[in-house]
Amino acid sequence: MNNSNPIKLIILFFVYVFIQVFFAKNLELFGIAFCFIYINYLLIFPLEIDKVLLLILGFVLGFLIDIFYDTLGIHSAACVLVAFIRPIVVRLMTSKQEILAISIKEAGFRWFLTYALILVGIHHFILFVLQRFNFGMFPGTLLKSVASTLFTVLVIILIQYSFNSPYVSHARK
């Protein structure tokens, strides 16, 4: 894959922040499921990126979201963790199946769904735990993380089918 156009990636970065802050922030199902779609940016970032750069990118992304959510540190902590474990998850999951890019088109539906569930699940769980920090309401936190994970993953899958991942070269096939 050599279609990781840096300008496209930068624009996409701001598009995700914009969508999260002005649209997804208002999405809420039954008071327990929230949508943090911006995490998709870290999920489908091109495979070749340097690991340290991915960490920094995760931090900056989380920090920007934090500024708009008035929760300094929470989103950055969760994003940095996702950026850190992403290469590990990819390595573990590619031991059986070689992939060229992270998308349904390249890796298959089941591979992508497992990958998204793991990373989004960890991100949301950390997010809700940090929000409740000094608060002993574990069952509620767990319920919120599970419901929100399903919600966000559903939206991520829909995006995959709608845009067929912007990183996949259409000319290649």
């Binding site: 008035d70 929760t71 540190g73 902590a77 850190f84």
Partner: protein
């Protein structure tokens, strides 16, 4: 020396991960430690302006509900006004003429530009700041009931600690017998809070109205807080206070316009009280 560099190079991913996590946690802890020293970002001009723009679009979706609320409030205010007129006409008591007493509470209209309800500590941002005379500690109410208290203000925006904040308690009373209690949020549902410190020999019924007491200087007295939803059973026999669930009058999910209350006699009352406490403690 070169061995150290080699080690750093080898573990650079892990080391930068640890560094960034520490930075995040540091930001998190530093911004939550002092509830009062909190100066949130959306009181910051740029973020505030962006939320104002987004708010000017979403305002249209709330128009119908805002209109209803305003009409309802107008009706209530008209009723109050006519009651006041009637009282003046038929009472023999000398009416209060001191303008400072009459104008003790001053209301500023503000729009909520950013709001949260699903955290343990909820804040909102309003589009009025120091420039409009908003100061830390002022009360914020909506047409339906109490909303919160100003925690910080910048030139054009202010952040408000919502009633939906686990660290806040509000002096409230039962409207029917003026019995004092304090209202606390338990962090669960944005529609309900708890009223504590009401002694258990009192009869409290479902649906009883709860209003602010006016004993603290943040809110004017007799502002609607909510209604008794349910009186919980005591967990231990020795407990002598009721544990009451309150359905909040304000719908925090749909807040659009709020009033910031400026109490002209706040300083006078507070300083007198501090003086008295100091005397007692001496």
């Amino acid at each position: 020396m070169s061995a150290i560099w080699l080690l750093i190079r080898q573990y650079r991913v892990f080391l930068s991960f640890i560094a960034l996590e520490i930075l995040s946690i540091w930001l998190l802890v530093n911004n939550n430690r002092y509830q009062n020293a909190v100066f949130f970002n959306s009181a910051n001009r740029y973020v505030g302006v962006m939320f104002s723009i987004s708010g000017s679009v979403t305002d249209y979706f709330h128009l119908k509900q805002v209109n209803q609320e305003l009409a309802w409030e107008n009706r209530r205010l008209r009723q109050l006004l006519s009651q006041q007129e009637q009282k003046k006409q038929f009472s023999d008591i000398e009416p209060v003429t001191d303008p400072l007493i009459i104008n003790q509470y001053n209301y500023t209209l503000a729009r909520v530009v950013n709001n949260s309800t699903h955290r343990a500590q909820n804040y909102m941002t309003i589009n009025k700041g120091k420039r409009h005379g908003i100061e830390k500690g002022m009360g914020v109410i909506s047409p339906n009931g109490i909303v919160g208290q100003v925690s910080a203000s910048s030139e054009y925006f202010s952040t408000v600690i919502s009633v939906l904040h686990t660290g806040i308690s509000i002096s409230a009373q039962l409207k029917k017998n003026n019995e004092l209690g304090s209202l606390k949020w338990d962090g669960k549902s944005p529609r309900y809070a708890k009223l504590v410190d009401i002694p258990d020999y009192l009869t409290v019924n479902k649906g009883d109205t709860i209003v602010t007491s006016g004993f603290n200087t943040t809110y004017p007295p007799k502002i609607l807080v909510g209604f008794v939803e349910q009186i919980n059973k005591k967990t231990t026999v020795s407990e002598s206070f009721l544990n009451i669930d309150v359905r909040l009058a304000t719908n925090f999910n749909r807040l659009t316009y709020v009033y910031v209350v400026k109490n002209a006699l706040k300083l006078a009352k507070d300083s007198l009280e501090t003086e008295t406490y100091e005397e007692i403690n001496e």
